[in-house]
Every structure is written in structure tokens, then in C-alpha cells.
Amino acid sequence: MTAFAALVARDLTLALRAGGGAWLAAGFFAAVAAIVPLGVGADLVLLARIAGGVLWVAAVLAMLISLDRLFQADFEDGGLDALALGPLSLEAVAAAKILAHWLTTGAPLTILAAPLALLFNLPDAAYGALVLSLGLGTPGLSAAGAVGAALTLSARRGGLILPLIVLPLATPAVIFGAGAVLGAIEGMGPAALLFLSAYALGTVLLAPFAAAAALRLHLAA
């Protein structure tokens, strides 16, 4: 097994164990999606229009709460030092952790979104766009979040500053992801999905470099 695959497998195992919080993000996602209709009222026409936006915002929030354990646990017990000295470059370490994070948060969210959209009376034409947009966009969210998590690794009140840093980076995903769902309802073309793919590709390719630079910064101290 290559070192990259071994690191991904290790992170997956840790996340799936008790205390790993693998299902936290999915549970939070479901809770938010369930509570919004209670707030905005039971008007099904309204809910159908806002479904894409609400589910996308819930997805961003759910990924945010699971981000601070991305590097923190390894940093605190010295595992990150060992990884930095190992055969993988820090960029590869960051990429492996982003992949493991997406597998435990983004992928379950994508699957869970379709049943939750039933609560919102989403038109049938938009289900494909919803799942596709989440599937394409959540890797980008994991990548952007990893940059924020690496930057705030040892910060005081790091948990509070992380959303402030990550949310501006995540806004294009929300804009184009929700726009893709709305576009599918109204019969517009695939432009929003194309923009979303561009965003996801860009962040997934560039985030490991930024995150590794931030990790080096904190490890050197």
C-alpha cells in the first residue's frame, strides 16, 4: 500500500471510530435541513425555491464544524511532526487529509441530500443537479477548509476564527451550487455547474500547497 493510501486509510479509521465524529457532519446537516422549514413556514412553493440554497448552506456549516479536527489532533500529539519527517511531502499529507475529510463528511452529505430534499418538495428535475453540485462542490469545500484549518492550527480561540476565514473562501461554491439547483428548476443551462467544477478543481489543486505552507509555519515553531 502506498504511503498516500496508508495515510488516507488511517484517517478514515480514526474518523470512523468512537469519538472520531465521522457521522457528526451528516447529523448536523440533517438537523439544519429539518429546522429551516420550521423557521420559514410550511409554504411548499417557497421551500421548493429555497431548497438548493438551504441545503448548500447547511452543507457548508456541516463541513465547517468538522474542520478543526483535521490537523489539530495530529498536531497536539506529535503525529504531524512524524508525518513531516516521513516519506510523503507535506503537500501530499495535506492532500491525503483533504481526501479523508471529504470521504467522511462531503460524500455522506451528498448522499443524504437527496432524501432531505424530499422535505423541501424539490421538483424532480432538480434532484440530479442537487446531488451533482454537492458531489462536485464539497471537495472544494474540504480543500478550502483545510487551508483555514492549517492557518489557525495553534491560534487562541482557533475554533471561532476558523469560520471567519473559511466562509469567504467557500462563497463561490454556495453561489454556484445553489445556482445550479435553481437553474435546473428553471431550465437554464449548465453554466453554474461548470463554474462550480472550475472552483472545485482550482481549490483541490492549489489548497495542498497553501495548507502545507501553513503547516510548515506551525511545525517550525
Binding site: T152, R156, L167, A210
Partner: protein, 252 residues
Amino acid sequence: MLRYSNPGRFMDATAALLPWIAWSAGMLLAAGFYLALFVAPADYQQGEAARIMFVHVPAAWMAMFVYAAMAGASLTGLVFKHPLADVAAKAAAPLGACFTALALVTGMLWGKPMWGTYWVWDARLTSVLILFFVYLGYIALWSAIEEPARAARAAAIFCLVGAANLPVIHFSVDWWNTLHQPASVARLGRPAMDAGFLWPLLVMAAGYMTSFAALTILRMRTEILERRARALLLARAHGAHPLAPAHGAHAP
């Protein structure tokens, strides 16, 4: 630029320069306000309300310019390890945030009579709002990390990551259908604006730029003095050093 990486030389140079810059800023702003309020003609369609343009447009220009300057300073600090680059970026950040807030607020006040609404979620307004949050995140990151050297590098990385927003802001009025007016001055070819409006605008922009320069230099000087004070306190706390200030210190 490399000459002034020595903080002592920087402090000496700016001590002489700062009053000149500050006075120029004051005079340019005064001239700009006079031109904007009394000399520039009223718009034939919007009347006197269009004069808010002279506050709003230079503020928006400065909001983007300051962030670009911060990104350049961050790159210089990260790559060339220029000692004062991160000081410059830290000093400029709150000023940039204020210019962005000024642009947003004056834009909202202008939007109500012109478009009938305070806000609309089009590409330009949204991307400038995101720029405002990036400024806030940058400032928060500086204060969240204890050690100044590490905070400087972390903030520099974040500033460079957020710089992807700048081209989006500038080209948003071309790329998307938007309520906001397209670029009239900063475009290829001659500015599409009459001289009666252009000159007050440029004078106001010069006033904003010089006041930004004066305030940034002042904040950089303060930051350097604070770092010196911190270094002295740390030296004192580390105990009996033969060169430490003697007054008030007890021999161990």
C-alpha cells in the same frame, strides 16, 4: 525598498517625510471636497445626489488597491523575507477595511435614490462584501496567533489566498449582468467620463491615496515602536542582563 528594511533607517526617513505627506493629504482632500461639492456640475438625471460618487468611487478604488498592496507586501515578506513587509501589510489592513466599508455604505446610500433599493445581490456588490470579510478575517488572524513572526506568515498566506477575489471584483461588471455601472475610468482606451466630473474624482482619489499613505506610515511607526517595547520587556523579564535598563531592576 531594501534600504528601508532597517527599521531604524525607516523610522528616520519617515519622521522627516510624514508631515509633508499628511499636509498634502489634507490639502488634496480639502480641494477635492470643494471641487466635488461646488465646482462639479450636477447630473442632469440624478441631480445633486450624484455627488456621492466623489466619495464612493475613490473609496472603492482604494479598497481594491490596498488589498493588492497587502498582497504584494505579503508576497515580499514570504518570499524575500523583507523585515518590514508584514508590518506594512498589518498596518494597511484596517485602513483597507474602512475604505471597503465606506464604499459599501456610500454605495447603499446612493443606491436608494438611484435604483430604489439599498442592496442587491449582484456580482460586484457581493464580491466587495466578500472582500470586506476577507479583510476582517486577515485582521482577526493577526490577533489570534500569539507569536508575531508566526502570525505574520500565517496572515501573509491567507492574504495571498484571498487575492483571488480581486480580479473577480474588477471584472464582475463585465462578466455578469449586473445593476452596477460598468467601468468608466479604469478601462482600455480613454475614460468615458466628462472632464468636469473626472478632475474632481481624480483629486479626491489623490487625497484618499495620500491620506492612506500618511496613516499607513503612522501605523507602521507605531507597530515598530510597540515591537521595540515588547523586546525590551522580554529582555527585562529574562533576568539580569548586563545591558538591560538598570532603573527599577533588582539584582537577582
